[in-house]
């Protein structure tokens, strides 16, 4: 929309801010195209997040909330804004930072330094949980083992559990993550493209893991997760960080280029260029589709149970993380990705055929060797006592 030009004769301001009309506008808002001054931008940005939190009743007074902090722009701004709103509107929340170290050299170690700086700048306590400690495998190890094709699957599954484990360690009620509107729109498109109906139903929910209505008696961590940035544009988050001069780490994960999500992202960017409201429109469509999926009785959503090995919530006997871990430990990296039963069968057949105790490698040649090299193999995640060094709360 075109911005207003010279408005009032008494105040010949060139290009006044659309909202306050009193100062010159210095930026164009990606979400609406309005021309705003810095203060008004901060105001609309912060107020929208506040509205999202309030309208969706995300928190209770006195909640202990962990902020998933990666050091990237989303989580840095999230930490900043959560603290700001907590103080300004007296949410009464007890905030902590929770960071996951996947073990990606040249990427995660740098971003963790940023998180440590955030801890000092915002005065919020920090806990770092690493894949190496939790699972015995860092992402570098995993990529060496399986190559670059399905590594995002491993990282995503492990991270989700790691966040929960960390949250339990910190004794929090709630985890907030920095998923923004662009992420959610991308996810809606991806789920449609991949035909993933259960995910399509869940992905637009602002609060997930809400098992309050679930009466199946299974053990869950009961830690809610929410996305206060659900309606916040990625570009606006960057703009906010820029104008507020917030400290963040801005490189892409070095293992990511070939992900399927990349296609959806490019398409989304093209859409946004044509129509700036497309992102929010997709989220709105996603919410409507979610209701449609839910209404369809034939859609079988998986029933939840507990993983037999680690006790984590799972729709199968073994949770995905345990499954993937088993695959890694046995040198069967395909386990948990694609046709699990087929691979097991093939492995067992190979076992019987060759009489070996460890199965022949299926994918990369380095696969079989890696299993034995691993010294610290943690197969029972629940038993945290196995960890030699317990991560401690890195307080201010």
């Amino acid at each position: 929309m075109p911005g207003a030009t010279d408005a009032k004769p008494t105040k010949p301001l060139k290009n006044p801010c659309n909202l306050c009309q009193s100062v010159r506008a210095i930026l164009k808002r990606p979400k609406t195209g309005q021309q705003l001054c810095k203060e008004c931008f901060f105001h609309v940005f912060e107020t929208e997040i506040h509205n999202t939190i309030v309208d969706n009743k995300l928190f209770n007074k006195g909640d202990r909330v962990a902020i998933g902090a990666s050091g990237g722009k989303d989580s840095t701004v999230l930490a900043y804004v959560m603290k700001l709103l907590n103080d300004r509107y007296s949410y009464g929340l007890d905030l902590v930072l929770l960071s996951i170290d996947e073990g990606i050299t040249g990427y995660r170690d740098d971003s963790l330094e940023t998180v440590k700086r955030n801890r000092d700048q915002y005065q919020i306590p920090l806990l770092i949980v690493s894949y190496k400690d939790l699972y015995g495998w860092s992402m570098d190890d995993i990529v060496k083992e399986i190559g670059r094709k399905n590594n995002c699957t491993f990282c995503g599954v492990f991270r989700r559990q790691a966040l929960d484990r960390g949250a339990i360690m910190l004794n929090v009620d709630h985890i907030v993550t920095g998923h923004n509107a662009d992420d959610i729109a991308e996810t809606v498109l991806m789920n449609i493209l991949r035909g993933d109906l259960p995910r399509l139903q869940r992905c637009t929910s602002i609060i997930t893991n809400d098992t309050s209505e679930d009466s199946s008696g299974i053990e869950t961590s009961k830690i809610l997760r929410s996305k206060p940035f659900k309606y916040t544009y990625e570009k606006e988050i960057v703009m906010y960080a820029y104008f507020k001069k917030l400290d963040y780490f801005s490189t892409e994960c070095i293992y990511s280029p070939n992900a399927y999500r990349g296609h959806a992202r490019v398409f989304l960017k093209d859409l946004e260029a044509v129509r700036r409201t497309a992102i929010v429109d997709i989220i709105h469509s996603g919410e409507a589709l979610s209701a449609s999926v839910q209404a369809n009785e034939s859609t079988k959503l998986p029933t939840m149970a507990n993983c037999t090995r680690c006790g984590y919530i799972s729709s199968n006997e073994l949770c995905k993380a345990c499954l993937l871990l088993e695959g890694l430990n046995k040198g069967l990296p395909q386990l948990g990705i694609g046709h699990t039963t087929k691979i097991r069968r093939m492995a067992e057949a190979a076992n019987l055929a060759s009489g070996l105790s460890s199965p022949a490698s299926l994918s990369s040649s380095a696969a079989s060797g890696a299993a034995e090299e691993n010294i610290k193999v943690v197969t029972h995640i629940k038993d945290l006592g196995q960890l030699e060094t317990m991560p401690s709360l890195d307080s201010v």
Binding site: T47, N60, L289
Partner: protein
């Protein structure tokens, strides 16, 4: 099973049937006549077979095939013929029920939107240069189907509405002064004015009220008012749907068959998601949709890829109509506007399908598992005639803040779903006392009879008599988003005087929009709407909850704390 060439062998089923047969050689139904025909391992006499129904049909229905001229719909016509043809021995039996009763073909001639330069040069607009009507007619005639043709500009003809003669068009006005709107960042709250087209001097029903050129001009004016290609394409698509439904109803057809291929459906799914039409998506992409009253919409070719249909036409030597789709490139002024969401989605899906060949199938399968929403056809959107979700304006307002620091945003706290102007300016009514007969959710009156009215609804001001009708509050989310792309300078504002209103209004929406608005407001007909008591209450429907709230507003403590 042995395979001897000399004699026919009995299959297992036949053996079983033979064993079951009690009266071998006699009809199994009447049991006394000698059997003459064996069907499905059972024997019948002629009389019995005449009454037996080989197809599970209760009543054969009339089908309207939508034919655009492209390969998909051309294949549709041919395939219907193949499917519908009965073997000769059955066809001669007149008492045999058919699957479908009559098959009709309809075509929308979009030639007026093809070559604007030529149109202007030619004096005789009715010349068929570029017109696709005759080609379509001859193709339909080849199969012996009845043909119905209409031109896209006929959407402005009062004839193409449910009432067959709804003589009114709609102009839009903005509720706030325009300079305020451009800076607000919000989608403008639009109100409508229903303008009666001048009553014709003759009472002849057949006399066209508008000339073809006038209709083309109106259509082009509307398209010109849309600033983006996406908006143009979407609006045109709504017009097409409206015409197709009317054509089906005119032809007494209870089924409308569209030639959408799987590729088209997959693109549609992503496109609809991207423009915010997720709510109506299940209806617009399903194999069978019951959304439109008395007219089932089916997409029989939903599982065929467009490449397959293309090859099918080529191999069977089926003729197509070239240049049958409106090309809107001529309306584009700058290079930047050349992209539309439809084109982007088309490129995206086609490209993705090359790399991941199951993309189209997967996307279609996903959408097939969606349940259509619980919405009634009575409460359809005036522009797209689709389902309307409750509270869409509210949703939009909640996620975008448009007030300066320190300013109180009345729109967010007030929970409005109607024209905010009416609330602040007019005294609130106690309850649904508006003449419209209730709020937007009230029950509908019976379908209208034909009328001639043009109502110019101005936005409600305290001085002039209120004749404006709501618009934005009646729309679905997708249309609300789409109309953000309307150029505000083509619309008058509520504050303008009536002279300014008439001069600055330069586009109109077709009669079917006016008809739907009038129905949504609870009036059975245009006449009734025009003769409603204007002085009593504003014509805008009032949400009862909201009017109660305004009464007690002064006693409410604004809640901006987060405790539950």
């Amino acid at each position: 099973m042995s395979c001897s060439v000399e004699e026919p062998t009995m299959t297992i089923a036949e053996k079983r049937a033979k064993d079951r047969a009690v009266h071998v050689g006699f009809c199994c139904k009447c049991k006394h006549a000698k059997s003459t025909i064996t069907v499905r391992y059972a024997e019948y006499c002629e009389t019995a077979l005449r009454n037996a129904r080989p197809y599970r049909v209760i009543t054969p229905e009339n089908v309207m095939l939508a034919f655009s001229g492209g390969p998909s719909s051309r294949a549709l016509i041919h395939l219907f013929d193949v499917f519908h043809s009965l073997p000769p021995e059955v066809a001669t039996n007149k008492k045999q029920p058919k699957i479908y009763n009559d098959i009709h073909v309809c075509h929308i001639d979009e030639s007026c939107l093809l070559e604007p330069a030529q149109d202007r040069e030619q004096q005789d607009i009715t010349s068929s240069s570029g017109s696709t009507m005759e080609q379509a007619r001859s193709i339909a005639a080849g199969y012996g189907y009845s043909f119905h043709g209409v031109a896209i500009e006929d959407i402005y003809d009062p004839e193409w509405t449910d009432s067959r003669c709804f003589e009114a068009v709609v102009t839009l006005i903005t509720s706030l002064p325009k300079d305020q709107l451009t800076t607000s960042g919000q989608a403008p709250e639009l109100l409508s004015r229903i303008i009666p087209t001048p009553a014709s001097s003759t009472s002849e029903e057949d006399a066209p009220k508008l000339s073809r050129q006038e209709k083309i001009n109106k259509l082009k004016a509307l398209l010109g008012a849309c600033t983006t290609l996406t908006a143009k394409e979407t609006v045109l698509q709504h017009f097409r749907s409206s015409l197709l439904i009317q054509l089906a109803k005119r032809g007494q057809c209870t089924i409308l068959a569209l030639g959408d291929s799987a590729t088209r459906v997959a693109i549609q799914i992503i496109e609809l998601t991207s423009i915010g039409r997720g709510y109506s998506l299940p209806h617009e992409t399903s194999l069978l949709s019951n959304w439109v009253q008395d007219c089932k919409v089916i997409r029989p070719l939903k599982d065929c890829l467009v490449k397959e249909l293309d090859s099918f036409c080529g191999l069977n030597g089926l003729e197509l109509i070239e240049r049958h789709n409106a090309q809107l490139d001529w309306t584009i002024k700058t290079k930047a506007d050349i992209k539309s969401i439809r084109r982007l989605t088309d490129d995206f899906i086609t490209g993705l399908d090359k790399e991941f060949p199951s993309t189209v199938a997967t996307v279609c399968r996903t959408a097939a598992k969606l349940t259509p929403p619980e919405a009634t056809y009575d409460q359809k959107c005036p522009l797209c005639l689709g389902p309307v979700q409750a509270g869409v304006q509210e949703w939009k307002r909640r996620i975008t803040v448009t007030t300066a620091p320190g300013e109180v945003d009345t729109t967010i706290t007030a929970n409005t779903s109607n024209n905010t102007e009416t609330e602040t300016k007019d005294s609130p009514d106690g309850c649904c006392s508006s003449d419209a007969g209730g709020c937007c959710t009230s029950s509908q009156r019976p379908p209208c009879t034909s009328h001639q009215t043009t109502i110019t609804t101005t936005t409600t001001t305290t001085t002039s008599p209120s004749t404006s009708t709501p618009f934005s509050s009646l729309l679905c989310y997708g249309c609300l988003t789409n109309l953000r792309d309307l150029d505000l300078k083509f619309m008058a504002s509520q504050e303008d005087s009536s002279d300014e209103l008439m001069s600055s209004t330069s586009f109109e929406l077709p009669p079917y929009v006016a008809e739907t608005i009038v129905h949504r407001m609870g009036f059975a007909s245009l006449d009734e709407f025009e003769h409603r008591s204007v002085a009593a209450a504003p014509a805008t429907a009032v949400d009862p909850q909201e009017s109660l709230r305004t009464q007690i507003q002064e006693f409410l403590i604004p809640s901006d704390d987060e405790d539950e």
